[in-house]
Amino acid sequence: MNQFISSILIGFSQGSIYALMALALVLVFRSTRVVNFAQAGQAMVSTYIGWEVINRTGSYWLAIPIAALGGAILAVIVQNFLMRPLSKRTSEGAIAPVANIIVTLGLLGVLHSGAAIIWGSEEKLLTSPVSTNGFKIGENVYPFSATDVLIIITSVIVMLIFAFIFKKTNLGLALRAAAFQPEISRLAGIRVDRVQTIGWAFSGAAGAVAGVLIAPGSYLNPYSLDILLVFGFVAAVIGGLDSLVGAAVGGIVLGLTLSFTSQYVGTALTFVVPFVVLLVVLLLRPNGLLGGRSSRNA
């Protein structure tokens, strides 16, 4: 019983981080039809920014918004100076269908090595601002601490902010319109370029928060968030890749799957599980658990 409850608790707290990463990938995919493989690298650089903030001010609370801001700025730079010119230059030839995937991979390499040059490749530690000791109920100590509560609350706040923007503001309307009908939106007077950039900025911020939240439970080095990219991608696909709600659900589903397999099957399968989940989803529910209508050949 203890083991079962533990699995659920771990699944939710880890899953909400995967959900944020999935959200980051979905935001970019919706606005520009690009799966940004450099997202892990951008999140990593943003987390280093957070680490610097903690080092200088001692405040983790300050680190979250500053890292998010840093992540947003980085994403805007990437979108404006790399991805947009790229799409104009690579519309022809064999490279056309794969150009943006390849370039985001290259960017991931640049961010990896750049971060290693600046911060070194030794592991850095981000200490959680609240206790990491598990809550005690009766005799049992559960693997669920104040830090996990912080993770879940922060993720939920970020998601609520996005939900509010998308549902209740004109900006949100423009974001949704530009995502699904860019040509018509342009005719309707929406500045699609700018809206796309805002989508990237949101995505950069979400990835940054995911990085700052996951780091206290593990370590930070230039490569440590790469696995989060795979987890985030799988979560995003579970949710259908262009649904924000789907990303959140996908993250939790993946978090639970991983915690249950680690508890009941074994941790030796940690990297195998996401691949299996991905294949199963793609074969059985190719449009995600929530089932959108668009095809996988986007």
């Binding site: 203890n2 083991q3 533990s6 699995s7 771990i10 699944g11 880890q14 290693a116 490749s121 030794e122 592991e123 530690l125 200490t127 990491t132 000791n133 598990g134 005690k136 100590v141 559960y142 693997p143 601490s145 996951i214 439970g217 593990s218 370590y219 080095n221 490569y223 440590s224 696995i227 978090g255 991983l258 915690s259 680690s262 508890q263 074994g266 941790t267 030796a268 399968l269 940690t270 990297f271």
Partner: protein, 431 residues
């Protein structure tokens, strides 16, 4: 007609080229390689290891520490008038790069490889560079894999460290004596590391209540540590043996503290370096009481003449805090210097190998356990002493002073060693 002509021409051309090629292969056999890398003034040595990258933490201090010791020897006149030059190559702990860098060392004309790191890396290097027939020595490789001590397979290689298998046998003995009847569990990296350890524990007669394997590098995923600890707790395991690298050990200790789980931890020597662990967020309170092993004296043992000397050398030639990685590097360098000295003034590769085989057992080094080199075996140190880490992070030897256990790579018993380490030669220079 024209087509015929052209193909005829091609055939002639091909035949011509082929015959040239055949002649070219018949270059005279190369001169003897036995003295490559040695002049009357210098000896060139090489090492391939990870200076950077995810696997480099801690390990990247070893080669610079070796270099510090060599510089110290050089400043004291070198060995038989020759100064040692160590070329350090970075392979990032990737197999192909280890081969590439070692090939580069051969091209740069090194006399021997020394202290190269990693089991798979060393296997690949031995194969591609064909150490067997080229006679290039690869001394004191930095791995606990016992295969390199088999002379038949690797006639020019020498192991140095006692194997994980031996360590696990010694741990078994310790558990049977100190924790009889308690439930024992093990967490291990799911590779030869863990396989060796499981075999040793089985040979030692330990019944394991819980066996947890984990994928290497998965320890960075936060939920992984939590599932280890929940499992162990659920099974009421009281003694936990850990076979993994420091980052995984840190994940386990930190999670255990968070979940108020307090078993007796027994951690492999390669996973228990104090500076590495504390750098990964492990506090002294978490380490208090952890049992581990070592074949070298504790890096904090200032009463030990070798440690004292190595610290002085490190202060002069090295950087950063003195720790067990630096101690290991200096010790490997000292063994190398011993071997070169023992090979005599007329230094050759074959002479170097013979010197270790015949005199290696008597080399003075910091190790508290005896080297076991012979003309039939290239196995290095054969044992460990056990320690408990105290609340200030110091390794306190079991029963107050170093009590060394020795054993073999087979079914032999674990014995308390009577080995008396040779006194440190004057100034710690090979004699």
């Amino acid at each position: 007609m024209m087509r015929l002509n052209r193909s005829k021409k091609a055939i002639t051309l091909t035949a011509l080229a082929a015959s040239v090629a055949l002649v070219a292969t018949m270059v005279p056999a190369q001169a003897s390689t036995d003295k490559v890398g040695v002049t009357s003034k210098t000896i060139k040595l090489g090492i391939s290891q990870p200076t950077t990258g995810p696997a480099s933490a801690g390990y990247n201090k070893v080669a610079p520490a070796m270099n510090s010791y060599f510089k110290y020897v050089n400043d004291n006149g070198g060995i038989n008038g020759r100064k040692i030059e160590l070329i350090i190559k970075n392979d990032g702990y990737v197999v192909q790069r280890a081969v590439n860098e070692s090939a580069a060392l051969v091209d740069e004309g090194v006399f021997a490889l020394v202290g190269s790191l990693g089991t798979a890396n060393n296997t690949a290097v031995a194969e591609f560079l064909d150490l067997k027939s080229t006679g290039l020595p690869s001394l004191f490789v930095n791995t606990g894999f016992s295969g390199f001590s088999v002379k038949k397979d690797y006639p020019t290689m020498f192991s140095l460290f006692p194997s994980y298998y031996m360590e696990a046998k010694i741990f078994s003995e310790y558990i049977k004596k100190n924790f009889p009847g308690k439930k024992v569990g093990v967490i291990y990296q799911a590779d030869d590391f863990g396989v060796d350890a499981l075999a040793g524990l089985a040979q030692g007669g330990i019944t394991l209540t819980e066996k947890i394997a984990y994928a290497s590098l998965s320890q960075g995923t936060p939920s992984v540590g939590q599932s280890w600890i929940t499992k162990l707790k659920t099974a009421n395991v009281e003694v936990v043996i850990f076979y993994g690298v420091p980052s995984a050990v840190a994940a386990a200790l930190r999670t255990a503290a968070a979940l108020a789980y307090k078993p007796q931890w027994i951690v492999t020597s390669v996973g228990s370096d104090y500076t590495t662990l504390t750098g990964l967020g492990v506090t002294n309170a978490m380490l208090d009481g952890v049992v581990t092993g070592s074949f070298l004296p504790a890096p904090t043992d200032d009463a030990d003449p070798y440690v004292k000397l190595f610290k002085t050398i490190h202060t002069k030639y090295g950087t950063g805090a003195f720790d067990s990685n630096i101690l290991t590097g200096m010790n490997t360098a000292m063994m190398t210097a011993n071997a070169i000295k023992a090979a005599g003034p007329n230094l050759t590769r074959s002479g170097l190998i013979r010197a270790i085989e015949t005199k290696g057992r008597t080399f003075a080094s910091a190790s508290l356990t005896p080297p076991t080199y012979s003309t039939t075996s290239h196995a290095g140190y054969a044992g460990f002493w056990l320690a408990q880490i105290n609340s200030s992070g110091v390794m306190v030897p079991e029963s107050g002073k170093y009590k060394v256990y020795t054993t073999d790579a087979g079914k032999g018993a674990v014995k308390v060693s009577t080995y008396k380490r040779p006194a440190m030669p004057a100034k710690g220079l090979p004699k």
